[in-house]
């Protein structure tokens, strides 16, 4: 049987760390990188007698995600205790949500593939629930013992669970990327995957094409990059197909991905699964979200990427591709919008070309993110204005851009002025240059007269060179033809 006889089914559980200043139940700081246990309060250490108090900022972020996904925001949800023993779980239970999560349902559109193979797809969300993170066990430097760092304990997480709607590793990655962009867009998570702010678990199964029942799934835990997500799923899918084709059976299990070997290996089987003994946490009242609260949060929501993309197409006349590219990340969209604010809506396409072209290329080369670009949107916008009004050509504009990038001036106008880059449109000056070029290039003139069009281009080039690029090429061309009586 070939690989194409199999259908892959993937659902993702993503833990997004919410960017609140304080922890979800203790009020201690959530800042990353402090010395071990410095940010662990009495509540985080689970001293006898301490109690949790819900951080409403975390709820607000959950509401934002619910609104962005078009999901149902539960008017009443319940915090439950998930009981298990582990040294970095100080209370012996994690406060999470089980039967009644705060966000229910919703969907997100993903863009998969490139070029002609590109397609869009909607992935449904099952739920998103609030919970607290555990601490960390440190196994090095303790001479056969383990150290416990509770700084991370109590950090707010939103666990976002998808339906098993994805059918390939590429779709899973596209979904994870779309969600990653969205949580950053609505500013509820910094999306820093190295620091563990956005972690993926993938539930993977395979079944024969046309089958109606799902196959047995295995869950790949803790994938902290899109590349690992892709690799892990691809390996896992291959392993499952091979196992079944060899007459074996996939057993429900939790597996870990080893980036060194590129393989997944079993952590525990379903038989070893914990009985978490969930029950409503009696220390916390049910979370009640009144419609007014949702309205207040809605009022603070930025325009969502899909709405912004539609607006760019409709109001700015951008092609769909440009609009989608510019709204793929909040920072890019913000930069573009600010550039247009300076250059004017009429020059939106030109702004789009510069943001997606020269700016993107230069950022890539320098390894910078767009919010760290040395050229500000206002600077780029004024440069685009000067291209549009004919002050500089595209070629000269690239020089101005480079000068702005290198900090040689504070504005495009200043650089154009200081470096004398203003386009020459004075016909007297251009005529003098043409005359000089014609006199010095009799051979080219002869060739042109003999019918060689190429020779004409060479003459234009000479005039442009004489103007150090500042002459308007169209004007030069027109005047030259007149001179040559063509």
């Amino acid at each position: 049987m070939s690989r194409s006889d199999w259908e892959v089914v993937i659902g993702l559980e993503i833990h997004a760390q919410l960017n609140t200043a304080a922890k979800i139940f203790s009020g201690a700081s959530t800042a990353f990188g402090a010395a071990p246990n410095v940010q662990a309060s009495a509540v985080d250490c689970a001293l006898p007698g301490v109690l949790p108090v819900l951080n409403r900022g975390a709820v607000e972020r959950a509401i934002k995600l619910g609104l962005a996904l078009g999901a149902h925001i539960a008017p009443k949800s319940v915090f439950a205790r998930k009981n298990y023993f582990y040294p970095d779980l100080p209370k012996g239970y994690q406060i999470s949500q089980f039967e009644l999560p705060v966000v229910q349902g919703g969907a997100i559109t993903i863009h998969v593939g490139e070029g002609d193979a590109a397609y869009e797809k909607s992935v449904r969300l099952t739920r998103a629930h609030l919970e607290e993170d555990a601490g960390k066990s440190l196994h090095e430097d303790f001479h056969g013992m383990s150290g416990i760092d509770l700084n991370r304990a109590g950090t707010p997480l939103l666990e976002i669970v998808s339906e098993p709607d994805m059918r390939s590793a590429a779709e899973a990655v596209a979904y994870a990327r779309a969600l990653h962009a969205l949580v950053r867009w609505i500013d509820i998570c910094d999306g820093n995957m190295q620091e563990g702010s956005f972690r993926c678990d993938a539930n993977v199964s395979v079944r024969k094409k046309g089958a109606t029942e799902f196959g047995t799934r295995r869950e790949i835990k803790n994938l902290n990059s899109f590349r690992f997500l892709q690799q892990a799923i691809e390996y896992e899918v291959g392993w499952q197909i091979e196992t079944i084709e060899d007459g074996g059976k996939v057993v429900q299990a939790t597996v870990l991905f080893d980036p060194e070997t590129g393989e997944t290996r079993m952590m525990r089987s379903k038989e070893d699964a914990h009985d978490y003994r969930y029950f409503p946490d009696p220390d916390l009242l049910p979370l009640v979200i009144e419609p007014e609260w949702i309205e207040r949060v809605k009022a603070t929501m930025p325009e969502l990427p899909t709405a912004m993309q539609a607006r760019f197409e409709r109001d700015l006349g951008l092609p769909a591709y440009d609009a989608a590219t510019l709204t793929a990340a909040r920072e890019t969209a913000d930069y573009f919008a600010a550039t247009v604010a300076t250059a004017g809506d009429n020059n939106a396409k030109l702004c789009a070309n510069w943001v997606m072209g020269e700016l993107a290329a230069r950022l890539h080369k320098a390894g910078l993110e767009i919010d760290a670009a040395p050229v500000s949107p206002a600077q780029l916008g004024s440069l685009v204005t000067r291209i549009a009004d004919g002050t500089v050509s595209n070629a000269i504009a690239r020089k101005v851009f480079e000068a702005l990038w290198n900090g040689e001036g504070t504005s495009a106008d200043e650089i154009i002025e200081k470096q004398g880059l203003k386009q020459v449109t004075d016909s007297g000056a251009i005529e003098a240059m043409i005359d000089a070029v014609l006199a010095a290039n009799q051979k080219s003139v002869d060739e042109f007269r003999a019918g060689k069009e190429k020779a004409f281009n060479a003459l234009v080039g000479q005039v442009m060179k004489a103007s150090r690029g500042k002459a308007n090429p169209a004007q030069v061309s027109e005047m030259l033809r007149r001179k040559l009586g063509a």
């Binding site: 007698g49 301490v50 040294p87 012996g92 003994r277 220390d283």
Partner: protein, 497 residues
């Protein structure tokens, strides 16, 4: 001044003595500390007595009194149940697990009382993690009933009840999850009140069963309880179940003269649940309770029968819910960060098993096991959810009953204090003795127990009053009027060192 010994005096008497500079707080604390030193070997009411700290507190209180900044409790000695976290002081919860735990912070209640200027004499003995009705499960040994050493003081706040009964402290804090204030109050002939759930912050109260635990007060009278409870209540944003209500001045409510001095309780309807007066209580208790009800009628109250048809289901519902919550609440005692850790172990799992195996006593283990079981996959619906349904039915019973009466009265316990060890072979028998107190916790209502007589063996009998939500003032006032007309609460055990 009368010739009442200071240790026997009411809080308001001590207040007047302190304010009149007839005695200093340091002297007063010394009176109680000396009495503790004499009687403690016989009673074992305390886990910790901190003489130096108490005298330092008293000195600070004297300075405050001298400046004219004294509140109602400034300079008054008190004992805290060892379930409340006290900064810098051993907070054991009656367990070997916490026999080395010196809390780095104060419970909200402890802070409030410190701010009020009370002098903490020490921490009282209790059933381990408040699990028990006799104070026999304490790692630090049983407390003896001052009325009959060799008998239990009740529990779990048995140390506090015994301390107040033996006048080792004029007032004491306690907690009540299923009767742990009211039942020992009745066993020791003192007054004890458990307020409405949410009125006293649970922050710093080591949890047994979070949805039932509530702090409260012991005193020699309803008046003393009113003073202490008034200082313990108040909204605490660190406890999500704390109720945001303005604190009430219970003592002032008691001080107001009744409209009719001869019939101070005229207009009060006392409900008598048929179910509480059915078979089950001993004859001696029935006699004492009936006499107390006659006294209430004599004071102007009317009594009428009411129904609490689901109250009989309170025991199973209570023990399922309490043990379920306890099994989770006690998971934090794992030997990792504080508390007992086994000296030798092979690996992590072994460390958990040995630390918890050694650190917890049998009753705690029993409740963790049962609680774990009722929350397990496949049993949750049949036990935990079912118990929650019963809980709602019981609360609904009370709601209906309070449409017909102002207060409910009945025996606090079907039995009087039993001999040490008499029940330890049969935990279920002991659980069943909580029949009258547990429905109150399940419904979250306030309840009070006050002395109302003695059985043939000379052991005290308590009358329980149950009120609607936030009716603490009404409960205390009823008990206060009763105590103005009777002297049961003034009887003292004969104690010789």
């Amino acid at each position: 001044m009368s010739d009442t010994p200071l240790f026997d005096a009411s809080v308001s008497f001590l207040r007047r003595a302190l304010d009149a500079r007839k005695i200093s707080s340091v002297e007063l604390a010394s009176v109680f500390l000396d009495r503790i030193a004499t009687l403690e070997p016989k009673l074992n009411a305390f886990v910790t007595v901190d003489r130096e700290r108490a005298l330092a507190d008293a000195k600070a209180a004297d300075a405050r009194i001298a400046k004219g900044e004294a509140g109602p409790l400034t300079g008054i000695p008190l004992a805290h149940k060892d379930v409340f976290c006290t900064e810098g002081v051993l907070t054991s919860c009656g367990s070997k697990m916490l026999a080395n735990f010196v809390s780095p912070y104060d419970a909200h209640v402890v802070t409030l009382l410190k701010d009020a200027g009370v002098v903490c004499l020490g921490k009282t003995n209790m059933d381990e993690f408040a699990m028990g009705s006799s104070t026999e499960t304490s790692h630090f040994g049983s407390t003896h009933n001052p009325w009959k050493p060799g008998h239990v003081p009740g529990g779990s706040s048995g140390g506090s009840a015994a301390a107040v009964a033996a006048r080792l402290a004029p007032i004491a804090t306690g907690t009540d999850t299923g009767g742990s204030i009211r039942q020992p109050a009745s066993f020791c002939n003192v007054t004890g009140i458990k307020p409405t759930y949410g009125l006293v912050s649970r922050y710093g109260l080591i949890a047994y069963a979070s949805s039932l635990d509530q702090g409260g007060a012991f005193g020699g009278s309803a008046e003393d309880c009113a003073l202490l409870l008034g200082a313990m209540t108040g909204f605490d944003k660190r406890d999500s179940t704390s109720l945001d209500r303005a604190p009430e001045n219970y003592a002032a409510a008691l001080a107001a003269p009744p409209a009719d001095a001869a019939k101070p309780l005229a207009g009060l309807t006392v409900g008598l649940p048929r179910e509480f007066f059915a078979a089950g209580m001993s004859d001696d208790i029935r006699v004492a309770v009936d006499a107390a009800l006659a006294q209430y009628r004599a004071l102007g109250a009317t009594t009428r029968e009411v129904d609490l048809p689901n109250a009989k289901l309170a025991i199973p519902a209570y023990y399922v819910i309490a043990m379920a919550e306890a099994s989770s609440n006690l998971s934090r005692f794992d030997g990792v960060r504080y508390g007992h850790r086994a000296a030798h172990y092979d690996d992590l799992f072994d460390m958990y098993c040995k630390s918890r195996g050694e650190g917890f006593g049998d009753e705690v283990k029993r409740r963790i096991l049962v609680g774990t079981y009722v929350l397990s996959h496949g049993y949750y619906d049949a036990y935990y959810l079912q118990a929650q349904k019963l809980r709602r039915l019981i609360a609904e019973d009370f709601r209906r009953a309070f449409a017909e009466c102002d207060l409910i009265a009945g025996p606090t316990s079907p039995v009087t204090a039993w001999a040490l060890g008499a029940m330890s072979g049969d935990p279920v028998q002991m659980y069943l003795a909580d029949i009258y107190t547990t429905p109150v916790n399940l419904a979250g209502l306030p309840g009070l127990s006050h002395p109302c007589g003695f059985d043939r063996a000379g052991l005290p009998v308590g009358l329980q009053l149950i009120g609607n939500y936030f009716s603490e003032a009404k409960l205390l006032e009823a008990a206060h009027r009763f105590q103005q007309a009777t002297d049961w609460h003034l009887r003292r055990p004969a104690l010789a060192a």
